[in-house]
Amino acid sequence: MSVEAQQGITTSRIPAGLGGLFPALILIGLFFVVPVLALLLRSVTDPAPGLQNYAALLGDGTYVRVFFNTFVVAFVVTIVTVVVAFPVAWMLAIMPPALASILFGIIILSMWTNLLTRTYAWMVLLQRTGVINRALMGAGIIDQPLPLINNLTGVTIGMVYIMLPFMILPLVGTLRAIDPMTLRAAALCGASPFAAFRRILLPLSLPGIAAGGLMVFVMSLGYFVTPALLGGTSNMMLAEMIAQMIQSLLNWGLGSAAAFILLVVTMALYALQLRLVGSKRAAGGA
C-alpha cells in the first residue's frame, strides 16, 4: 500500500510541476523565443527569401567596419573597466564592512540615476569648451582643447563609467572569498607585492574578472545611447547602424540580419567563457 502511495506521489508530481511552470513557459516563449525566431525569419525573407541580407552585411566594407568598430569599442571598454574596477573592488573587499556598504550604496545610486542624464553630464564635461578642457587650459597644461568627445575616447570614457558597477559587483564577491592570509604567506615566501598580485591575487580573481568582463563586453556590443551621444560619425557602432537601417532606411531585413549576427556572436562568447572559466573552476574545486 505504501509503495503504491509513493508511486502515486512520484507519478503525479511531474505533471503537477509542469502545470505550475506553464504560465512562465508561455511568457518566455511569447516574449523571448518568438521574437528571436521572427527576427531570424525576417532576416532571411525580407525583401525576398535567401541569405542576401547576410551577404550584403558581410560583403560590404562599410558594414564590416562597423562590426569591427563595435568589437574594438567593446573590447577597449572591457579592458579599461577591468583595470579601473579592480582596485575599487579590492578596496571594497578589504575595507571594514560598514564603510564598504556606504561605498556600495554610492555605486548603486549611480546605477539608478537616469542613463541619459549621466551621458549628457559627460557631454558637458568632455566637450571642447567643457569643464575638463577649460580646467586643463586654465592650469596651462595644454593650449589646445583635447578632442575628448565625438570619438573613441569619449565613447570609452562614457561607457566605462556606466559599466563599472557591473564589473565591480561580481569582482568584489570573488575577492572577498580570497583569504588575506594567503597574501601574507606569499609575501613571506619572498613574493614582492607585484609578484603576489600577478601570481596569486590575479589568478584567484580570474572567475570574477571573467564573469564581469563578459557582462560588460556583451552589454557594450549592443550599446546605443552612449555611443550615439559621445561618439563620432566615423566610428559608428552596430546598435546605431541597426537603428539607422530600420528608422531611416526602413530596411527591416538588413537590420534583423545585423541584430541576429550580434546575437550569435554574443552567444558564442558566452559559450567560450563557460568552457574556459567553467572548466578551470571545476578543476579548482576538485
Binding site: 583569504d179 601574507r184 604567506a185 609575501a187 613571506l188 615566501c189 619572498g190 614582492s192 609578484a195
Partner: protein, 368 residues
C-alpha cells in the same frame, strides 16, 4: 660575549591605549626550538608578527645576526612561516605551492625540481605532488605549508598555532613530524601555541607570555619543576594551590601554617615573605604520596572520588579546611595503599612544593 643569532630587544607594540607587548627582550641561539606559550591575548602572536614583518613594533628592535630586520619588508626577510589557517595557494598544485618561493626567487628549473622533490620527501607527501590543496586533508595541507616554508632554507621558521585546526590524533602525528624535521634540518623554530602539552613536547625552551610580558623562560622542566610565579605553576601542568600563612623563612626554606592549622616546614620559597603574610602553597597532583616516608609533610583529607585513568588514578579529595584538591598516584600505588573513599592522610615532599604570594589576579585553582 658572542652575538646571539636572533635577538628581540625591548620590543613594544601598542594598539591605541592597549599595549599588546611590553618591552620583551629575548635571545635565541641558532637551531633552537623556542615556543611562545600563553593564553590568547598575551602578546605571543604579536611578537611573532613583528618578527615576520606583518606588524611594525611601536618601539624596540628585532636583530638577526646583529642586523635589524625592522626596515626589511616581509618579502625580503627570508623567513619561513606556517600559519594557523591553511594558506596554501588554492589554484596551484602541491608541487607548485612548494616551488612558489623558489620561482619568485627565479631559481633555475632544475634546482626548483630537485628542491621540491626533497621537500615533499621531507614531509612524506611525494605521491601528492600533482594534487590541488583542496584535495588534501587538513594535516596534509599543513605538511605542504611546512614544505613550502622550508623550501628556500630560511634561517628561521615561524609557526603560528599551526596545529590548532587539527584534531587530537593528527596533532600528535604532526608534532612528531615537526620534531623530526627540526632534528633533520636544524632550522631555528619559533613556535606559538596556547597548548602547554604541545609546548612541552616540542620545545627546547618555552617563553611563557602573560599580559604582553614574558613571565618565565626556560626549558619545559624548568617551568614545570621550578615555576617562578603562581601563574607559571598554574599554566604549566596541573597544580593544587592551598591557602597558607607564612611564618618564617630561614635559608630559602619556609615554614607555613595551612588552613587546617598543620605546620609544614622546608618549603621552597619564591621571593621573600613577611611573617604572617597570606600565601598559597602549590603542590603538583602527582607529588602527593599515599604512603609515609621520611621528611614528608602530611595532609589530612577525605577522599571523595577515585577515577581510573590508565597508568594513574585521579583522586578528588577535600582538605579539612574544605578545599578540593587533585591527587594523581600511579595506579599500582593506589592499589597497594588503598585509595578508597574515606578519611586518611596523604603525604608530600616539602622541597617539591612552592610558596607564592596570595591572592593572585589570574592564578587558576585546580587547573586541569
Amino acid at each position: 660575549m658572542t652575538q646571539p643569532f636572533l635577538s628581540i630587544r625591548k620590543l613594544r607594540k601598542a594598539f591605541g591605549a592597549f599595549t599588546a607587548v611590553h618591552n620583551v627582550t629575548l635571545d635565541i641561539p641558532k637551531g633552537e626550538f623556542l615556543t611562545f606559550l600563553g593564553p590568547s591575548g598575551s602578546g605571543k602572536s604579536t611578537t611573532l608578527y613583528a618578527i615576520a614583518g606583518f606588524q611594525d613594533p611601536t618601539s624596540g628592535d628585532v636583530l638577526l645576526q646583529g642586523k635589524s630586520l625592522l626596515s626589511v619588508p616581509s618579502h625580503k626577510r627570508n623567513i619561513g612561516m606556517v600559519f594557523q589557517r591553511y594558506t596554501l595557494f588554492p589554484h596551484l598544485s602541491v608541487a607548485e605551492n612548494v616551488a612558489f618561493p623558489l620561482r619568485v626567487r627565479r631559481r633555475p628549473e632544475t634546482e626548483v625540481r630537485r628542491k621540491v622533490a626533497d621537500m615533499l620527501s621531507l614531509v612524506r607527501l611525494e605521491s601528492f605532488a600533482e594534487r590541488l590543496p583542496a584535495a588534501l586533508s587538513g594535516g596534509q595541507q599543513q605538511r605542504v605549508a611546512l614544505a613550502r616554508a622550508l623550501a628556500y632554507d630560511p634561517p628561521i621558521l615561524l609557526m603560528d598555532e599551526p596545529l590548532s585546526a587539527l584534531d587530537k590524533k593528527l596533532r600528535e602525528e604532526i608534532q612528531a613530524e615537526i620534531r623530526r624535521i627540526h632534528r633533520e634540518t636544524g632550522v631555528t623554530i619559533l613556535y606559538v601555541t596556547h597548548d602547554q602539552e604541545e609546548a612541552l613536547h616540542l620545545s627546547d625552551r618555552i617563553a611563557l607570555f602573560r599580559d604582553g610580558r614574558i613571565e618565565q623562560i626556560g626549558t619545559g622542566e624548568d617551568l614545570y619543576l621550578r615555576p617562578t610565579t603562581d601563574f607559571v605553576a598554574g599554566f604549566i601542568g596541573n597544580s593544587n594551590f592551598l591557602a597558607a600563612e607564612h611564618l618564617e623563612t630561614v635559608g630559602g626554606a619556609s615554614t607555613i601554617r595551612l588552613a587546617d592549622g598543620a605546620l609544614v616546614s622546608g618549603i621552597n620559597a619564591n621571593g621573600s615573605f613577611a611573617p604572617g603574610q597570606k600565601t598559597r602553597l602549590m603542590i603538583r597532583p602527582e607529588a602527593f604520596r599515599l604512603e609515609r616516608s621520611s621528611n614528608n609533610a602530611e595532609l589530612s583529607v577525605e577522599i571523595v572520588d577515585v577515577a581510573f585513568y590508565g597508568e594513574r588514578r585521579r583522586i578528588v579529595a577535600r582538605t579539612s579546611a574544605g578545599q578540593e584538591i587533585d591527587i594523581r598516584p600511579t595506579s599500582s600505588a593506589a592499589a597497594t595503599h588503598d585509595a578508597s573513599p574515606g578519611r586518611r592522610q596523604v603525604f608530600f615532599d616539602p622541597a617539591g612544593a612552592f610558596l607564592f604570594p596570595a591572592p593572585s589576579k589570574t592564578g587558576k585553582e585546580l587547573t586541569y
